[in-house]
């Protein structure tokens, strides 16, 4: 039995709906490694492992499951990650239903607010820290983010 792209998509959906953040599956010489909210580097290696067996369409990873849609950070000296300064619930918008602080492609200044991390009703703003453009958003709205977790990747303006 081999995994088809459809199978991978199905597994991905199951992971999405579960409480787990990581999944490792090994069968018939195929190694599948999925991780929720992964940073670009991890996602890239996970994706390439998958594509070895399921080259067709690539798994349809949903929101929050990062895929290698951008070049890994290591390859791009102008790309920087914005990390969570503390553990909490990450919000992309100032309040439910409001427009997100930033979207992929948004221009940001050093002090632009890119999100909020809530710890027991206490809202902590997260700022971009550099001048540039949002390349990738790695954490979904309302998700638990850990200390040091990469929330977004920004392309620095030279």
């Amino acid at each position: 039995m081999t995994l088809t792209a459809k199978d991978v998509a199905e597994i991905t959906r199951l992971l999405e709906e579960s409480n787990f953040d990581e999944l490792y599956l090994e069968m018939d010489g195929l190694k599948l490694s999925l991780r929720r909210g992964a940073d670009a580097t991890t996602a890239a290696s996970a994706a390439s492992t998958v594509s070895a067996a399921a080259p067709a369409s690539g798994p349809a990873l949903g929101r929050g499951l990062a895929l290698a849609t951008v070049p890994p950070a290591a390859d791009d000296p102008n790309s920087v990650g914005v990390t969570a300064p503390l553990l909490g619930t990450f919000y992309r918008a100032p309040k439910p239903g409001a427009a997100p602080f930033v979207e992929v492609g948004s221009q940001v200044e050093e002090d632009t607010i890119i999100g909020i991390i809530e710890v027991m009703k206490l809202m902590n703003t997260v700022r971009a820290g550099v001048r540039g453009r949002v390349i990738q958003i790695l954490c979904q709205d309302g998700a638990l983010v850990e200390y040091g977790e990469t929330l977004m990747r920004l392309g620095k303006t030279k």
């Binding site: 503390l86 553990l87 638990l144 850990e146 200390y147 040091g148 977790e149």
Partner: protein, 458 residues
């Protein structure tokens, strides 16, 4: 309520130990770890690890809101606080109560009643449990008058205290004002509470504590006592059960006093009632209650066969007490050595670093609770406990021999350890005779100062 997922809000050997019981019970675990501990042995044992903050405990393990937020975020049903850190902070228990996360421990109100040492004293008196002569003092004048009544030597202790901090010994009444000032400022810095009280100092006292389990409804059982008299500056080093050389009558009275005290609070969960046994007068006094699982709990587990963490979880989930007093039948003797990364030849200076080769003892009647494997780090931010080696056998002398062989077998490279010091204690005739008082270790160190030994690095 059924507990299916527990956030373990601690680190080190106790985190690993809690996770092991959870695995046995089929409960998922999420370890709340600081940056320094994200690739530790407990992190590998847990089903999941969340990084709660930087290495410094004040920015991670001691953050009440962060811990509860982490529990909510990972949808944990309960938080196990372990010992130390937030285990006896009423604020954590209270926030858990508000957020409907089960706190595996007593109620916030119970933590407050035993955390305030003066309140605990009056609860003890109300439960007809003797307390050490002494009491609260509002002023230096009042202190001097009380001190004249109870006589010297006297201990000045912090109301919010523990672990020897904010504690001063006074031999002459003239020194009392200065000692009170020192104790108050230490207590204020360590516990945010400058209040102090006086207690008569028992020169030849033994530290004997009784393990209890309460269902929170007034049902309380005890699981025997532990003797923790081998201490250095109020830090326990070696513990055993049963306490050697106590008369059956005193032992029974200790157990009953502990149960009376816990019943009065309708105590919930695992707790320990500490007593000072005055060996010269064959009397005992209430010292304090520890509202948490204790470092030395495996000693009790060895002789009773009860998994105390499993009982904590059962009580927290509302199952109540699964054991009656008659189910508790202690067998044989158990003894525990705390293996620390510290250098006895340099005044027990902590020795953090990266551990090289490690070999922990094993064999019949030996248990090792540890989070240290080859390559593990002993970070400088936390206590230096690396492992607890527990021996269990039919008699005290067999236990002692077993423990000595086990300690001699232990190998830890890369950091200094107190293993050789443990051997010295286990070889000491006074210790072997049993029933040493809390001054034993200081006398041993004075008698045979430790040679500076070279520590293998690598």
């Amino acid at each position: 309520m059924e507990i299916r997922r527990i956030l373990v809000a601690n680190r080190g050997e106790i985190a690993a130990r809690i996770i092991r019981t959870c695995r046995e019970l089929g409960i998922e675990t999420v370890l709340a770890a600081s940056e320094a501990d994200c690739d530790s042995v407990p992190a590998r044992l847990a089903d999941r690890t969340v990084c709660i903050g930087p290495s410094r405990a004040s920015e991670s393990y001691l953050r009440v809101e962060t811990i509860v937020q982490a529990a909510l975020g990972v949808r944990a049903d309960a938080i196990h606080p372990g010992y130390g850190f937030l285990s006896e902070r009423a604020a954590l228990a209270r926030l858990c109560e508000e957020q409907r996360v089960i706190f595996i421990g007593p109620t916030a109100a119970q933590i407050e009643s035993v955390g305030d040492k003066l309140r605990a004293r009056s609860e003890a008196q109300a439960a007809s449990v003797a307390v050490v002569p002494g009491g609260a003092v509002e002023s230096v004048e009042a202190a001097q008058s009380l001190a004249r009544q109870i006589g010297t030597p006297i201990l000045v202790k912090a109301v919010g205290g523990g672990g020897g901090r904010g504690m001063k010994l006074v031999d002459r009444l003239d020194d009392l004002p200065h000692a009170m000032e020192l104790a108050a400022s230490e207590a204020s810095a360590a516990f945010g509470d400058a209040r102090v009280y006086l207690e008569s100092f028992v020169t030849r006292g033994r530290h004997v504590e009784v393990q209890v389990l309460g269902d929170g409804q007034g049902g309380v059982i005890h699981l025997g006592e532990r003797d923790c008299s081998v201490q250095r500056r109020y830090q326990k080093l070696l513990e055993e059960s049963p306490a050697p050389g106590l008369s059956d009558e005193i032992r029974r009275q200790l157990h009953e006093a502990a149960v009376r005290f816990a019943k009065r609070l309708a105590y919930r969960g695992a707790g320990t009632v500490e007593f000072l046994v005055d060996t010269t007068r064959d009397r005992f006094y209430f010292l304090e209650m520890n509202a948490r699982i204790q470092v030395e709990h495996p000693v009790t587990e060895a002789i009773t066969g009860v998994d105390l963490v499993a009982e904590q979880i059962a009580i927290a989930s509302g199952t109540g007490l699964r054991l009656t007093q008659s189910d508790i039948r202690p067998q044989g003797c158990a003894m525990e050595c705390r293996v620390n990364a510290e250098d006895p030849s340099r005044d027990f200076l902590p020795s953090p670093g990266v551990v090289g080769d490690v070999s922990w003892p094993s064999g019949p009647g030996i248990r090792v609770d540890t989070h240290i494997a080859a390559g593990s780090r002993v970070p400088p931010f936390y206590d230096s406990l690396m492992a607890k080696v527990i021996a269990h056998a039919a008699t005290r002398s067999l236990t002692l021999e077993r423990l000595r062989r086990a300690i001699a077998d232990a190998r830890v490279a890369g950091v200094a350890t107190n293993l050789a010091f443990h051997i010295a204690v286990l070889n000491d005739p006074e210790f072997q005779a049993g029933g040493v008082d809390t001054g034993f270790l200081a006398r041993l160190l004075e008698r045979s100062p430790l040679k500076t030994e070279t520590v293998a690095r690598g």
